[in-house]
Each structure stands twice: as structure tokens, then as C-alpha cells.
Subunit: 341 residues, 2 copies
DNA sequence: ATCCTTGCCGGTAACGTTGTCGGAATGGAT
DNA sequence: ATCCATTCCGACAACGTTACCGGCAAGGAT
């Protein structure tokens, strides 16, 4: 009952060779049905489990995917669950590492996963990362890499993300339709792709409705509630203060909301507010927060599927780029007029 | 540049034997300083990384810890980060699996991790689990197991948790001190240990202040916002309705809060409310939610440390039981009178 | 009878590493 | 000159598995 049974044990007890047992346990071609049955029965009895280590060593595949995420907040942990789901189904195990938004940590994670001999990577990059050499090292080893959610043009790899530009656009358009005139945007770190895309969407919406862009209304700040709080206070202290704010994350929207309340302003009457991610908290705050919903779980699943495809095709696969659509969820914080239609 | 370098490559290029290279790379006793230097230099140049698979196979240790958690909500993902921190430091890799509060999934996770030949487990049990045979199988294989946060007396293993009874006690005592008279408790599933402990704390507080226990005020419901919402509606529909509610999680408190608002009651004037976990959302809702804070990150670290100790001692270690203290955070939802002292 | 196919099986090497053992060379002590 | 200890090194087996190759017997076709 102590040590797990091996092929050798089975062979010995059945007085046949290792090779035969090995064959019997797998494809079973080239092996007498009777011996096969005997092997199966005994392996059942001994509760035989093939040793993954030996297997991996032999066939140079660990059936493990390394997943690197900047954190495990609501959205990302949903995505990871999606990845997990599909990976498990396909016979893969996933190893999840958090970079904590730290560049150094991301490098370390990469190295560790590489040492663990994962078969490939599914990555969402940290907001702090400006260099991507550590990821290129992965590709030099010829391992498949898929990036998701936080993609970057500096890393040539198939990717899955949502249409951030579209998200920024519909959020802003919604605010314009509600009659807001001076719309500010609270963006994230300057080098973060998703932040810039969402901002591009914001700019596109302004352009479409012929509203002049005002640089003073575009604020970069850290992906963080407190920073957003102070940034909003500054916005509201302007001579011609904005009458609406689009933030590129719900967390930042919450910070903004606190600042707005602090100033004694009302939402949606004085200020309109739209966040991004549609985290559960959006419906818990007062007023409830309009936000952009994204199909996080699906996105995770898509990333894992793409990974598995990439893995099989390997060479001749053009860098596929899968884009999912976001959706506007209107709540109290931005709904000035009653819902039309 | 393609395949990673092996000991064999080094040996060949240096015209020495595998064994010598192996020794040179490690303890270095029994090897000429010169050859050692040469080996080191070449291994540096070839960027040699020992193959973990071969190593694990050889010495029957994967340096991997299997972590099973019911989910990755705010509290648990903090704990996992704590585990990660300590494990990494000690040279372990962690594999995190979510059971999604499902018994079947938990069994599957266990099996998969066992197949992956992890060196041991750090577990927080799913709320659905009533049988623990799958975990006992781990122990039969003589692998160390540590349970954390959600512990259960049915599993004999070293554990780390917070003092849930104390948490329930201080929450209830606080409500009593604020002058609330009919205090209800929204508990979780009946078989969930942490829920029952918190409820025991509640009962102890009643006893201390000579308040008679009223079974009608003790409600079990699922660990879930919606259930809590409906359960609260029922409580509030009673002839002699409670004037305070202690819920054993913040999520349930949010559900209760929505129900209280729905009924047009005010907090803290009409109803006092205290949650548990001190999630960030507590300070975002209106009114802000009093809650019991626990040292999640520290708890994770303690669990990993305990695991490593257990691993080394193995046999003669009495089942250590580490208990951390929770802390009451008072916010608007329960603060009737101004803060005393 | 001879030959060739087919069905079944075993031996061996290999994946990359470490541990054990034995042995060659050196040098100092007798 | 002989002996023994020391220093350094290589051969070999092993961890558990699979891939490749070759072989033996049975049986059908010639």
C-alpha cells in the first residue's frame, strides 16, 4: 500500500516483459487480447498510475501550461478559470503565477516556469513591463506563447483580447448621448496597451461627435483607487471642470466616485461616470456604476483554445488575433435621461 | 541555441565524465578546483539549467506543493499569495487548483495533483464537502497535508486558521454595546466549520450579556449574496423583527444590506449590520460596512511555513494548530453612538 | 518442403540526473 | 623499495517510461 505501483511490478507479477505491459496499457496494437485483459485487470487492482515524471522526461513534454497574470482580481481570476477549464479538458495542467504587476517578478516567474519545463505560456503582461526580452527567450526555445487581455505589439504572438477601442468608444458615446459635454478620461499607465486603446476609443467618439479634444481632460494615473481619487479631485478643481468621467477600470471609477462625493457633487446629475470591467462592485455602490462588461470567462477559454491550436500547428500559423466584443451596462451613475427605446 | 544544454554536453566538450560534471556543479567535494572552474565556466556559457524532471524522477521529490482552494475571492487569493511567497523562498513551486466549492471537483483536483506527484498539500476545504476520504488517501501515501482557513475536525492534519469564534464574539459584542437588542445571525451552510464557529462566538456573546437565544434569529443559508438577500427579507418580515444582523461573510452582508434598503430601513439607526472578511467592498458601499478583518496574507504565509515544518519533521509532529486573531473594523453600518474612548 | 506474412513478444537503449563503488595516480612515510 | 592514505575521476546502475528492432512460432500460399 506504500509506494505506487509501476509497470515493472505488473510485469513481474504477470511474468511478462516491461514492453508488453507498456503496450498493453496504451494503444494495445500488437498485443494478445488475453494478456491485455490480464494487464488491465492487474493494473486496476494495483491502482496503477503512470508516473508523469518519467513520461515527461521520456517524451519531452510535461503537458503543463505556464500562466502568468499581473494579479488575480475579479476579471483575471475569471479568465484563469476559463483557461483552466479548457486546459484540463485537453489534458493539460496549468501553473498560475502572479507577477503582482512587477516587471522583476514577471521575469522571475518566466524563469521558474521555464525551469519547470512547461510546454508553453499563456500570458497577460504586467503594467510595469516595458521590455519583453524575457518573453522572447521563451520563443527562442520554440515554445508556444499566447498573450491575452493585456496584449502588446512588442511581442509577436497569437493573442486574445477584447476590443478595447470599441469599449472606450461605446462608453464615451453613451456619455455624449446622455448630454454630457466635457468628458474627461482617467487612463492608466502610459505604456499599458489596453489603457491606450480604451483612450483611443474615447478619442474616436469625440471625433465622431465633433467634440474638440481637450488635453487637460486626459489624465494618466496609476491603476489604483487612491491615485484615481486624487486625480479626480484635481479634475474637479479645474475652472471649467468636466461634467463626466470615463475611467478605464472600475477600481479607478470607485476612486473617482469617492472624490466626486467628497466634493458634494451628485451623479448622474452633476457628473456622469462610466467604469470598465463590470465587476460585481458596480451594482453595490451608490449610485450604481455604469461599466463596460467583458466576457472574461470566455476570453480565458478562447486563450487556452488558441494556445492548443498554436501548439499543434506551431510553425505555419499566422499570428492569429482573436477579438471579443465588450458591452455597455448602463446603471445610475451615467443615466441622466430615462432609457430610450 | 535550440535545445537546452545538459550535463552530457558539458562533459563531452570538456572531455570528462558525467559524474565529474555532476559533482562539480553541486557540492564540489572530491573534484579538482581547476576542473570545477572549467565546468562552472562552461555551464555558464551554455546557460545550463538542470533538468527538473530528471532530478525529480531521480530523487523522488518534485519540490511542488499542491494547493486546493474553494475559490479565488479576495481573501483566498491573498492567502494564496502568502503561500506562494513563502514557498518560493523555500524553493518550492505551488500548483493552485480551484474546487469551485464543489465536492466532485475537489476530488478531481486531488487526483490530478497526486498524479502530478506533488510533495504535499495545502488545503482549504470546499463548503460542499462532507466526506474527506479523498484527503485521507493523500495521507496514506505519507504525504504531508496542512489545512488552512476552512479547517475541519474530520481531517487530522496540522492547521492554520483564524479564531472564528472570537470573530463572531467581538462582532456580536460590538452590536450589543451599540445598544442593539434583537441580534440575528446569517450563517452559512450547516456543515461548514468556520460558519459554525462564528455562530458559536455569537452565542457566547449573547450568553455573556445574558441575552436569550432566539432560534428564529438564527438563519442558515448559502454562502451567497442572493440567498442572503431573501433570507434577510424574511427576517425583516417577522412580527418582532431583529434590530441587528451579523453575517458570517461580507458577501452575505451585502445581500442583507440590499434587502434592508429595499424595506426602506436605515442603517445603523433601524438595523445594525456587521460582516466578516473586511473585503475592500466594505468601505465602498453606503453605508460603509463594519466587518471582521483577518490577516489573510499572514495566514497564507503561516500555512506554507507550517507545511515546510511538517514536511521535515514528518513523523513525530503533534498536530499543530495555529490560530490567528481577527479584528473588528467599525464602520457606519453598526455605529449608532459616537466612538467611545 | 520452402517461403513469406502475420501476430505476438522481449531486449535494449534512451530521456537527464545522481549515488555508489572501485580504481588510477600521486606523494609522503616507513 | 614498499606501503598506505589522499585526491581525483570514471563506470555503472538506477529512477519509470517508451520507441525501436529483431525474433520466434504459427499458418497460408507456392
Amino acid at each position: 500500500m506504500e509506494k505506487p505501483a509501476t509497470i515493472k511490478d505488473i510485469a513481474k507479477r504477470l511474468n511478462i516483459s516491461l514492453s508488453t505491459v507498456s503496450r498493453a496499457l496504451r494503444n494495445a496494437s500488437d498485443v494478445n487480447p488475453d494478456t491485455k485483459k490480464a494487464v488491465m485487470a492487474l493494473s486496476e487492482e494495483l491502482n496503477y498510475q503512470p508516473n508523469k515524471l518519467a513520461l515527461s522526461l521520456r517524451q519531452k513534454q510535461t503537458h503543463t501550461i505556464g500562466v502568468i497574470v499581473p494579479n488575480l482580481d475579479y476579471v483575471l481570476s475569471l479568465m484563469v478559470r476559463g483557461i483552466d477549464e479548457v486546459a484540463l479538458e485537453a489534458g493539460f495542467t496549468v501553473m498560475v503565477c502572479q507577477s503582482n504587476e512587477s516587471f522583476g517578478r514577471e521575469i522571475l516567474n518566466t524563469r521558474r516556469l521555464l525551469e519547470s519545463l512547461v510546454d508553453g505560456f499563456i500570458i497577460s503582461v504586467s503594467s510595469e513591463s516595458k521590455s519583453f526580452e524575457h518573453f522572447k527567450k521563451i520563443q527562442e526555445r520554440n515554445l508556444p506563447v499566447v498573450v491575452f487581455d493585456r496584449v502588446t505589439p512588442h511581442l509577436k504572438a497569437p493573442s486574445v483580447r477584447i476590443d478595447n477601442e470599441e469599449g472606450g468608444f461605446i462608453a464615451t458615446e453613451h456619455l455624449i448621448e446622455q448630454g454630457y459635454k466635457r468628458i474627461a478620461v482617467l487612463a492608466g499607465p502610459e505604456n499599458l496597451g489596453i489603457s491606450n486603446s480604451r483612450m483611443d476609443g474615447y478619442l474616436n467618439a469625440l471625433k465622431k461627435y465633433k467634440i474638440k479634444k481637450d488635453p487637460a481632460l486626459i489624465v494618466h494615473c496609476d491603476f489604483n483607487q487612491d491615485y484615481a481619487y486624487f486625480a479626480t479631485l484635481e479634475l474637479l478643481a479645474m475652472k471649467k471642470r468636466p461634467d463626466a468621467i470615463f475611467t478605464i477600470s472600475d477600481r479607478m471609477a470607485i476612486g473617482a466616485m469617492l472624490a466626486i462625493k467628497k466634493k458634494g457633487l451628485r451623479m448622474p446629475e452633476d457628473i456622469g461616470l462610466v467604469g470598465f470591467n463590470n465587476e460585481p462592485v458596480t451594482s453595490l455602490v451608490t449610485p450604481s456604476l455604469s461599466s463596460i462588461e467583458m466576457p472574461s470567462f470566455e476570453l480565458g477559454k478562447a486563450a487556452a483554445k488558441l494556445f492548443i491550436e498554436t501548439m499543434h500547428n506551431k510553425e505555419n500559423m499566422d499570428l492569429e488575433e482573436k477579438v471579443l466584443k465588450p458591452k455597455l451596462i448602463i446603471r445610475e451613475s451615467s443615466q441622466k435621461s430615462p432609457i430610450k427605446n
